[in-house]
């Protein structure tokens, strides 16, 4: 216990130092959002307990998937720090577990889990008493499942096969979550599926409701997970191999831009994190577009390739950040065209799967060819143009590859920044396809021509802008990566974001984070369903309206979503008055 308390004290000290300046503001934003979610969960505890069980399932998913998608989770205390102390694996795992309870995310989850006590009080005195140990055990299950999940993914990322398999699984899961309505619809479920009670997230509530085995099962699960984590920790201490030891073909390029392409292609094939990102994006695109097939609707299938491209661009939008301080070589070698080389390598890696997936899926669905062939070139060009541009204008300083801890997913200490950058990349890359999509919608085969034109101009124009930025601000970018801090005097969306007062920052978060919901499912998709006369359709509000109101409601949602993005953008807009100061 002494070890555990010392580790908890270390964590408190580290958090006290970390929660200053910019990161404190990010933390405040996170706390505000978390408090809203926790409050919503508590509200459910006063109503239908089915809903509460479902809400806890969502919390569990958040704990399980959040760290895997957002930079590897909390790594304030790392097992490597204690490797030389000779602690038994269980003692260390228990200590790290206790320390893992110190922090904002566990605190917020704890508040959400107070719902168990509320539910207990509503049911009776005995139930309320059971709720207290159930609450502690349930929180331990959340934290431990998250830790074990991250450790398993880290382990998988030691081999290429593991990296690819993890990418496929995670891509499929995230796509499945995005399309969860399809699953419900296919299962004929209109209410809450009863399975939410029997997930580990529901055992605490089961115990409170009086199921005798639930509390022992929770305790047993905690012990099993603790043992598993202890085992995984001893695997983790020791060098992690994060590159693939395959064939080493000599570089045969003869020009400077050819050399950059050769270098980048080797990074794409040898860096297991990049392997993971590509397969993740591909699995996401295919699963997202294919899942409505469960409802025998193939209207989304042709867009698997375009979705893959947008997701892949979002995942690689920090190209310069993940390479870290290697930028110094470019600064000392003026004249080399690093940006163009990287663009070509990105195309060589992503274009073939995108083209194949698009052609096959569109052939299966039997069209619409003009639309798909417009989106493909537009998005290919938009992605290769925006990826380097975003990474030099909105750089999130990464940890140098040779200094990373044994958690391959953690490429930067600033996971909030990475998440924001990925969202920005998603929206911006998708926006590059809008002209081609409109042209295809109105004029059919004019679309592909527009797509090729906008794609080419994005590739050339954004690439040239990125190269210019590297020339003029490369030194500042290098300094940023050396120190992990933004050089004084340069302001980007991220610093502007961090400089916002906490309240406005929270509003911007909500706008960017939730704007997609009214815009896409409640707006665009609902309009599609209305147009196909698919009424009273799962959670699409417009499909429940009276005939005259269906389109107006869908359009109102679209306007709401677009307005949310516009407000978010307006909040973080560059203001020349501020910069001048």
């Amino acid at each position: 216990m002494a070890v555990a308390l010392t580790m908890a004290a270390m964590k408190v000290a580290a958090l006290r130092h970390a929660l200053r300046g910019q990161r404190a503001q990010t933390a405040v934003t996170g706390a505000v959002l978390g408090a809203v979610l926790a409050g919503g969960t508590l509200y459910l505890a006063f109503g239908d307990l089915d809903l509460l069980a479902a809400a806890y399932a969502v919390w569990l998913l958040g704990w399980l998937l959040g760290p895997v998608f957002m930079g590897g989770g909390d790594e304030t205390l790392r097992p490597e720090y204690f490797a030389l102390l000779g602690l038994p694996a269980r003692t260390m795992a228990f200590g790290l577990l206790v320390a893992a309870f110190v922090g904002l995310a566990p605190l917020i989850s704890l508040v959400a889990l107070v719902g168990l006590v509320i539910a207990g009080v509503r049911l009776g005195v005995g139930n309320a008493l059971v709720a207290v140990p159930a609450l502690v055990l349930q929180l331990a299950v959340f934290v431990l499942l998250s830790k074990v999940g991250v450790a398993l993914v880290g382990l998988a990322l030691r081999s290429r096969l593991g990296a690819i398999a993890t990418g496929v699984v995670n891509g499929a899961i995230l796509a499945g979550l995005g399309q969860i309505w399809v699953v419900f619809w296919a299962l004929g479920q209109t209410g809450i599926p009863s399975v939410v009670w029997y997930l580990p997230s529901g055992w605490g509530l089961l115990a409170v409701r009086g199921t005798w085995w639930a509390l022992p099962a929770l305790a047993g699960l905690v012990l099993v997970l603790l043992a598993a984590w202890a085992g995984l920790l001893s695997w983790r201490v020791g060098a992690t191999r994060v590159s693939f030891a395959g064939r080493r073909r000599p570089i045969t390029a003869a020009s400077s831009s050819g050399a950059v392409v050769a270098k980048e292609l080797r990074a794409w094939s040898r860096d297991l994190v990049r392997n993971y990102q590509v397969t993740f994006a591909l699995a996401y695109g295919v699963c997202f577009a294919a899942s409505p097939l469960l409802l025998s609707w193939d209207g989304m299938l042709p867009y698997a390739g375009p979705i893959f491209l947008v997701m892949a661009a979002a995942m690689s939008a920090n190209v310069y950040g993940t390479d870290g301080t290697a930028l110094w070589l470019n600064l000392l070698t003026p004249g080399g065209s690093d940006v163009r080389g990287r663009q070509w390598a990105w195309l060589v890696v992503h274009a073939p799967p995108a083209v194949v997936v698009t052609l096959v899926c569109t052939a299966v669905a039997g069209g619409p060819w003009p639309m798909v062939l417009s989106l493909l070139p537009a998005l290919l060009g938009g992605a290769v143009g925006l990826v380097p541009l975003i990474s030099v204008y909105g750089l999130v300083p990464g940890t140098d590859p040779h200094r990373r801890a044994n958690n391959p997913l953690r490429t930067s200490e600033d996971d909030g920044g990475l998440t924001g950058q990925a969202y920005a990349a998603l929206a911006l890359v998708a926006a590059t396809a809008v002209p081609a999509a409109l042209a295809a919608h109105w004029f059919g085969w004019a679309g592909p021509v527009i797509g090729v034109l906008t794609g080419l101009s994005c590739y050339r124009g954004f690439g040239a802008l990125a190269a210019r930025r590297l020339r003029t601000h490369g030194v500042e970018l290098l300094q940023e990566m050396r120190t992990g801090r933004r050089a004084a005097g340069s302001r980007s969306v991220r610093t502007r974001f961090a400089a916002l007062p906490a309240g406005r920052q929270a509003v911007a978060w909500v706008c960017f984070g939730l704007g997609a919901i009214p815009l896409i499912p409640q707006g665009v998709l609902a309009a599609v369903f209305v147009s196909r006369n698919m009424l009273r359709h799962s959670w699409f509000v417009a499909t429940y309206m009276s005939p005259g109101l269906r389109y107006p409601v869908a359009i109102a949602f679209m306007v709401l979503g677009a307005t949310m993005y516009a407000v978010g953008t307006w909040l973080v807009r560059p203001t020349s008055a501020k910069v001048a100061g």
Binding site: A245, A267, T325, A326, P401, H402
Partner: protein
Amino acid sequence: MTAALEIDGLTKRFGDTLAVDAIDLVVPQGSFYGLVGQNGAGKTTTLSMAVGLLRPDDGHARIFGADVWSAPDDAKALVGVLPDGLAMPERLTGREVLTYLGLLRGLPRDVVTARADELLAVLELDSAPRTLVIEYSTGMRKKIGLATALLHAPRLLVLDEPFEAVDPVSAATIKTILRGFVVGGGSIVLSSHVMALVEQLCDHVAVIDGGRVAAAGPLDEVRGGRSLEDTFVALVGDEDGGVKELSWLSR
């Protein structure tokens, strides 16, 4: 004769800390110049500004007369740099790093191949042909870094802690290469904590303390009749001068 490197009033401030306070240094052509100082004295910051890796708040740096910030292409073609602890293209093998950088510098393909062969052999990196740089030991990273600094046949070498974590055999090899470079007319600036090494290699030395030059010039002038270490401690040591002992270790 133009100086190989001329540092003129370079200044850098990080927040409230004045890291480098208007440093002036002249590295004559053909000299082997040592920069010594405590941790945090400003050596790395000065060298980074001198080669164009960190923008100074004030001052100039000229390499063979070419201003590093206003005529970077001329200046950077003449200098080879080994920074301390920066990343490399990590997913390449040593040979691939040299091939990539040689081509990036516009060297012809066959020249790149020949020089890479020779550098890898001399620095004894050719025994691990399939190992990626990310898997290199600290000493191997220093050696591949030195190889990249030498690849394009520069006339000035700026080396930040080149001997740190390098084993004695490799260190001897590197010393031979560096001495040969100076004999052939090249100029070298290196920073180090190791006084004996600087005395052994360098003919000029500058002592940096608190972002300023405490003493600079030919080695024998700076150290006088004493060893460099005694001179250094006298220049930058604590006021009380006493070396503290650990109470629980010394009985």
